[in-house]
Symmetry: C2
Subunit: 390 residues, 2 copies
């Protein structure tokens, strides 16, 4: 086990009838709120109305900033930063999934500085203060509701970059599983893939794999993300299925899973970011394309970790007789079959990305590899992995 | 999944060379520190010296309050509250295990009120403010380093009571597994039993057992507490074993395991508190006596949960063919065998508590049952359980 600091200050209100608390939770931090949200879904499912009414009841002035899209754009964040500055915003409310919350985080840091917010993402400036942020989560996926990270796409350069800072933890996040009843099957699946991917990245890239307590937690979360996703797709209004998936996705990336693992990388996300930056496919769909290829590449030299995971969560009666290579292969196949079952693509071909584009995708990914300090991921290596994702 | 609030604000510094940070972490909260600790062990293993030196370097004035014993006593807490008041203490440092940290929590609340601190424990007063607390953990067991609970024994009435309040979370807790290298085998074992017991209580008494994500986390923690304890007993200076046990014990009772389970009870702890209050046996030793008897009693009407746990963490090739009753019995036997292996007693007889005392123990436990709202635990029921612990 490697040294670590764990300090997650977000307050979680989880369950039924919790959205009405957003007003009091937000009023504790300010009086002029910027309400950040996405497209129509929160208006259609009534969540927007509940939030506005609760904020009004708590005496908050509201400035709205809707229209955040998935793979949220820097240009839109910049507009909102201007709005926040012009309206002397002192608290931000994000109502949405990871894209909305990440946008709100970027605004919370960017509205308090004179320089361009993108300088935080390229590492040229560091965050010293932020506007307090509360959230109402509407999608089980990214984990942004209880972590200190954010990912934004620069629409000028087509770079999708992300990073973290202790000041970015939301103050309060409200997680009502009922809010996700109306999430369509595709995004339910992509969200579960994202949660699985977060844990897989840590599990596979841990510098120090001598961490049984962390392994058991991560195995449980992967198993449960898959299982609860299946239940949600079977019955979209299964409260316990939605609750299970929502809390699993939050725990997957709130600092708990990575504790003690040492330096971890996010190579699958790194390559995926280029897919969604260049082709604007959903992040989860991009991940289910990259995961099998990356695992195949990794298993050629490191089958033991994949084999351990597979023995734990996909046991067979005779699994002790399998070699690590065989067990790893079995694990990858089961994951791929799950992607097929939940209708999340698992090859470039399925989303009609031409093989001829691989060099361009790799060139895009290499730029992020440098920022994320994954320098061992050369253009050649990324191309090799992408060929395994065909 | 039931509604829950999760808001754990403690900062954890985990790993090697972390004790030297206690000065700066404490100086962030005050300048006149009360240093609370137990007996000689932290002086013998050098931790006391490291702490005092770090506090001095950070410019803190230190008032000492040593001598906290296991099953910490109200009379000693009261003395320390006077000391804190007389010295205008504005920050408290606890260096020890659960007994020391719990004493420090009681002081942190009691030193800011005029009434007797015991009124918090009997529910006659509620905590409105506390003196900030930092800790250096020296024993993997109670979880007090990252939670909001405390347990103190009233030496006048022989009542061992506990309760929680959001203001009792330590600000920072330093967990260096090396500090526990010198913990003797007995207390290593008792600590692991305590961690297992915390999770077992939640797992068995959950009002809503439809929480697979929580079940997987709890199963992983129980399995790992047992496994890492075995490794520590085999090699007391096995860093990874100590680290694993330490972090497992912290996670077992930091709010994470109970999230979403609904109302949970602590019946095994409740009965154990009477054993350690009346006979002053170590808490973990008392728990390993109560656990098998309580589980036997519980399995008569509720074998399914015990069976699920046993299938998950003690699988056999043919475990699907077992009935729940058989599987529950198998699980209880494996636990009892583990207690025997780690040399923690699993019957009243082993610690020479006479059967004739059962009515008196039950009478003592009933008082706590009322405070902890476990009213279904009548004197008769507690006696019945105690007879299964003979």
């Amino acid at each position: 086990m490697q040294n670590f600091v764990f300090h997650n200050t977000t307050k979680i209100l989880f369950g039924r009838n919790t959205v009405a608390s957003i007003g009091s939770e937000t009023a504790a931090w300010g009086s002029r709120a910027l309400l950040v949200y996405g497209m129509k879904s929160i208006k259609n499912n009534g969540v927007y109305g509940q939030i506005v009414s609760s904020l009004h009841d708590a005496g908050l002035e509201i400035t709205e900033h809707g229209g955040v899209c998935s793979n949220p754009l820097l240009s839109h964040v910049r507009l909102s930063i201007e709005k926040a500055k012009n309206n002397n915003i002192d608290v931000i409310v994000a109502a949405g999934g990871g894209s909305v919350i990440d946008s709100a985080k970027a605004i919370s840091a960017g509205a308090l500085v004179e320089h361009d917010v993108w300088k935080f993402f390229t590492g040229k400036k560091s965050i010293k203060k932020t506007i307090p942020l509360t959230t109402v989560l509407t999608l089980a996926a990214a984990g942004s509701e209880m972590n200190s990270g954010m990912v934004i796409t620069n629409d000028d350069t087509r770079k999708k970059f992300g990073f973290g800072n202790q000041r970015l933890y939301p103050k309060t996040s409200i997680l009502n599983p009922e809010v996700t009843f109306s999430v369509p099957p595709s995004y339910t699946a992509y969200g579960a893939v994202d949660a699985v991917a977060h844990v897989l990245e840590f599990y596979m890239t841990a510098t120090d794999p001598a961490t049984p307590v962390q392994d058991r937690l991560m195995e449980g979360l992967i198993e449960n993300a898959m299982d609860s996703c299946d239940r949600c797709l079977e019955s979209p209004e299964d409260y316990n299925g939605r609750a299970d998936l929502m809390w699993t996705a939050t725990l997957a990336l709130n600092g708990l899973t990575a504790a003690g693992l040492g330096k971890v990388g996010f190579p699958m996300h790194m390559i995926e970011h280029s897919l969604s930056a260049l082709y604007d496919i959903p992040h989860g769909a991009g991940l289910s394309i990259i995961i099998p290829g990356w695992l195949k590449w990794f298993s050629a030299t490191n089958p033991a970790r994949i084999a351990q995971l597979a023995r734990r969560i996909f046991p067979t009666l005779d699994c002790e007789d399998y070699t690590d290579k065989e067990m790893a292969q079995r694990g990858i196949t089961i994951l791929q079959n799950w992607f097929a079952r939940i209708d999340s693509p698992s090859s470039l071909q399925e989303v009609e990305i031409p093989i001829a584009d691989i060099p361009e995708i790799a060139a895009n990914a290499v730029a992020l590899a440098k920022v994320w300090r994954l320098k061992e991921y050369t253009r050649e290596r990324i191309e090799e992995i992408l060929h395994l994702c065909r």
